[in-house]
Symmetry: C2
Subunit: 268 residues, 2 copies
Amino acid sequence: MGTTPGHADGTVGKAMDVLEAVAAFGRPVRFTELLDGQVYPKATLYRLLQTLTNQGMLSHDPDRNTYALGMRLIRLAHGAWAQTSIAPVARPFLDQLSAKLGETVHLAQLDAGQVLYVDKRNATKPISMFSDAGKVGPAYCTGVGKAMLAFLPEDDLVRALRAQAFQSHTSATLTDPQSLRQELEQIRTQGVSFDREEHEPSIICVAVPILNTASEPMGGLSVTSTTLRHSLNDLAAYAPDLRNTAQDIATQLQPWAFPQHLSEPRSA
Amino acid sequence: MGTTPGHADGTVGKAMDVLEAVAAFGRPVRFTELLDGQVYPKATLYRLLQTLTNQGMLSHDPDRNTYALGMRLIRLAHGAWAQTSIAPVARPFLDQLSAKLGETVHLAQLDAGQVLYVDKRNATKPISMFSDAGKVGPAYCTGVGKAMLAFLPEDDLVRALRAQAFQSHTSATLTDPQSLRQELEQIRTQGVSFDREEHEPSIICVAVPILNTASEPMGGLSVTSTTLRHSLNDLAAYAPDLRNTAQDIATQLQPWAFPQHLSEPRSA
DNA sequence: CAAGTTAGTTTCACATAATGGAACTGAGTT
DNA sequence: AACTCAGTTCCATTATGTGAAACTAACTTG
C-alpha cells in the first residue's frame, strides 16, 4: 500500500514506484528518506531519480537536495482530465446542479478500486483548481464510492474490494465485506447511496452513480454536507436532482463512448 | 516539437516520449496512429504502451482499441500541484485579488521555457478544476510569460528562448529575439508586462512576476481581459494591486524555499 | 584538527530486460 | 478463397539496467 513495489513491470514500473514513493511523502523528500522507505538499492534508486528528474516528472531542489513531483505531471494530467475523465462532459451539469442546490458537489470516478475526485463545486466560495481534483479516497466508505461499487460487475467488484484494506475510519465504517455487500445490494435497488459519517465524523453525503447503457458505473455524483447543517433525510431530498443530473451526464457521455471522429484524413 | 523523441535517457525516457505522443493527439488514439507518428518500431512501441497501460499512466479502451492518458496522472498531478507548484500558497491571495478586481486572474509558472498555468479565477462564473490548470502556452507572447522571462538569469533565458519556435500568432506577436529582448529590458525596469494581443486577437493582459529574494521569477500573475471591455490603460491601473499580491505571495513563499521541517524524527 | 559519521555520487563486472525483424493471428474486404 | 491491414507474439541478439562496493565531500565529534 502506498509504497508497495507493485509487481513492477520492468524499468518503467520501477520508475513509477519511485514517483509514487515521492508522492507518498507529500513534501519535498531527501534521497535517504526514499532510500530506507524503499526496496530499491542505493545506486538503482539514484539512477531512477536522475532519469525522472531529467524527464521533468520529478523536480530536484539542488540547494536542499530534495525531490518533489514535477510540473510535467500537471501538464500531462490536464490532458488526462480532458481526454479520459468524464469531467469535461459533466462540467456544465455540475455548474447547473451546484447553482440549483447551493451545496458542495463532487464528481468522482473509480480508479484502481479507489475513488478519484475529478471535479468539485463549492457554492459558497470560488474554488481553486487542482486543490481537490486528483484527491483519492477509499471506495467502500464514501458515498460516491459505494454508489459506483454497487453497479460494478461481479469480477470487477471482487478485484476492487481485494485492493481495499477495510480500515475503520469512524465508528460507522463498514469494515467487513459482508455488510458492505448487503449495503451495496440495497443501493442497487434504491439507486442512491449515503455516507453516514463512515469516512469522517459529522461528514455525510448522498450520492448516485453515473451509469452507461450497460448499467456499468462511469462515475459518481454526490452532495456533501455536515450533520450540523443537514440530516440524512434532508440529503435524501436531493436524490431526484442528483439522479437527473447523473442521467443528463450519462446521455452526453454516450457519444464519448463511441467516438465517431476516429478516422481522420491522415496528414501525409 | 511535441512528438520529438527528446534524447531519451533509457527506457523510462522512451516511455515518457510515448506518453507525450499520446498527449499530443488530444484524443484517444490508435496504435497505428502512434506508430507512424513515432520513431519507435512496432514491437517496441507495443510493449511500451502495454507497460504504461499496466501502470495506469495510459488507459486503454479495448473496444475501440485506443489509448488515452490515464487517471493515475491526475492523482500524481494533484501531488505535484500541492508539493511543487506555488499555487497552494498563492491560493488565498488569488481569491482576494479576484474578489477585489472582479476580473479573470491567472497564476502561471515557467516549465521548460513554457508558461504553465497552475491556477485561475474567473469572477463571473464558478470555475471547474483542471480545465485550465495544466494548460501550457508560449512564454514569449503572453503577459505572464514575458514577465517571468524578463527576470530570468541570462543563461536560463538563453535556454528558454532556444526552446521556443517564435511563431507569429497574431500581427502583434514579437517574432524575433531582438525585439523581445528590448521588450524584456523595459519590463525589467517597469516591473509590469503587457500582452498587446500578441497571442490571441482582442485578448489583452497585464502581468507581473512573482520574485524570490534573489529576484528570480517563481511565477507570474496576470489579469486578462478583452479589447472590447478594456484598454491597455485600464489594465495598467490594475498593476499596483497585482504587484501587491505578487509581493504577498512571494513573502509567503520564502519559508517554502527554506523548509524548516526537513529533519523529522526518523520513524525507526 | 584528525578521526568518525553521514549523505550523496561514481564505478564496473554481470545479468536481466529491452530490442526489433519477422512471423503470426484474426477481423474486414474484394 | 485470396488479400489487406491492424494488432500481437516470438526469440536470438545485445543494449540497458543492476547493485555491491568503493569513493568523495560535507559535516559532526572526541
